[in-house]
Subunit: 235 residues, 2 copies
DNA sequence: TCTCAAGAGTTACAGTCTATAACAGTTGCG
DNA sequence: CGCAACTGTTATAGACTGTAACTCTTGAGA
């Protein structure tokens, strides 16, 4: 389990089995939530019996971790694939936000996987953190073109401090903004704000808190994004 | 179990035991998340053995439901108890938001209980929905004094439709806004927007997504609220 | 081509937890 | 003061996670 070969027919079969396991797990997740994910059932579904699964995932948490990581990557891909309307940063921002929401609404169980923390005090592995960052990457250049409103000054200041303290983050932001340091801080500010905005609207929608209010999710997100675009004077 | 007396020493003892059980449950929840909540352990902690707990809560989900309901009520009380700075609706809005965040940050596990949906397709019982509404009630009169920005027009329209369709919601909003129907729709719009804003910032913070960025939670919330106050031209 | 170690899978089992059943002691209402 | 409701007990079924011990297969390298 420690370090296996990465090539050859053995490894290929192994990878395929892992994928089948994850597929079955997602199916269970979709119709019963995290609590319904049972390794025994998955094994039975694949025709193998019980403990065989532990050859492929060290534990239930390991499997869940893999699903979370996959979900982040998939979400990042969905956002990155958002069509560019080509009519300026404001429209681009709406397109990105809509793409993210679309992904989340289409597979609520996977968004819920990302949304919460399974156990308090849990910190995601760095690889997962990088994937989470990737979701937000396309937003950086959009906000780099804007001018943060005065009301956002405190956040800008904190982002500046963060950029100074965390080289990895600084490199990440800088790679998306060819402009100077003030654009960098502004881009990060906007991205963090849009992150929380997205989480606010989409999280509530996916958790079913909007049921009964009509199809509010899209309208609410659009409006929130519009307000944020105003705050950055996006064109 | 169906309908028990609500008075007398028997009922009093019963209520106290239920409270002790919930206390122990919250303690477990605080240090292991939902997954760590085990009825058996709670029973052992209280000196009783196993199945005795089922006299007080029909199932694990029943206990969790009670905890969720309590959390909503507690959160609502915390928001309602927010001090009124008395310097206008904008300051009042900040005070309410800060009170809510303070409650959530002080007991993250209880906020996480509220935040997510345990299982997809789950709909909270009406009693719980009312408690959830109570959290937001103090926000209504604040936004009733504002004028929604043009960008929020689509949301206002949907809120108007919702108010027309759902009498309970209409009564709830109207009770907090002595003004005309346009103020009612505006108040509801602002409240829903602030709800999603609060969830966005606080949810991410409580889930630990801000770790490493410094103490960003407060700043981020203040800024988001400020932007929202601007959108409603609060004084 | 042949060997053998690594990998894949099996059954058996220990341990935890939810939940029910059957039963016994206790208490407070009428 | 008696009985019905309430509280608690042990026994037990059943689901699930994870480990141990063992067997069979296979592919990489001499």
């Amino acid at each position: 389990m420690a370090e296996a070969r990465t090539t050859g027919p053995r490894a290929r079969y192994r990878e395929q089995t892992r994928a089948e396991i994850k597929d079955a797990a997602l199916r269970q997740l979709a119709e019963g939530g995290t609590a319904a994910l049972a390794l025994v059932k998955i094994a039975k579904e694949l025709g193998m019996s019980g403990p065989a699964l532990y050859r492929y995932f060290a534990s239930r948490d390991d499997l869940l971790g893999a699903l979370i990581s996959d979900a982040y990557e998939d979400a990042a891909a969905a956002v990155a694939a958002a069509p560019d309307p080509g009519t300026g940063p404001r429209a681009r921002l709406h397109a990105l936000a809509t793409a993210y929401r679309g992904w989340a609404v289409a597979q609520p169980h996977r968004y819920l996987l990302i949304q919460g923390t399974p156990t308090p005090g849990y910190t995601a592995p760095p690889e997962t953190l990088a994937s989470a960052r990737a979701v937000l990457t396309p937003f950086l250049p959009v906000f780099a073109t804007g001018t943060p409103a005065p009301a956002t000054a405190p956040v800008v200041a904190q982002m500046r401090a963060w950029l100074a303290a965390d080289a990895a983050v600084a490199a990440w932001v800088k790679a998306s903004t060819p402009d100077g340091p003030e654009a960098v801080a502004g881009a990060l500010t906007g991205t963090v704000l849009v992150w929380s905005t997205l989480h606010g609207t989409i999280g509530l929608e996916v958790s079913g808190h909007y049921t009964g209010m009509g199809h509010t999710g899209d309208t609410l997100l659009t409006t929130q994004i519009e307000l944020l675009a105003d705050a950055f004077a996006l064109g």
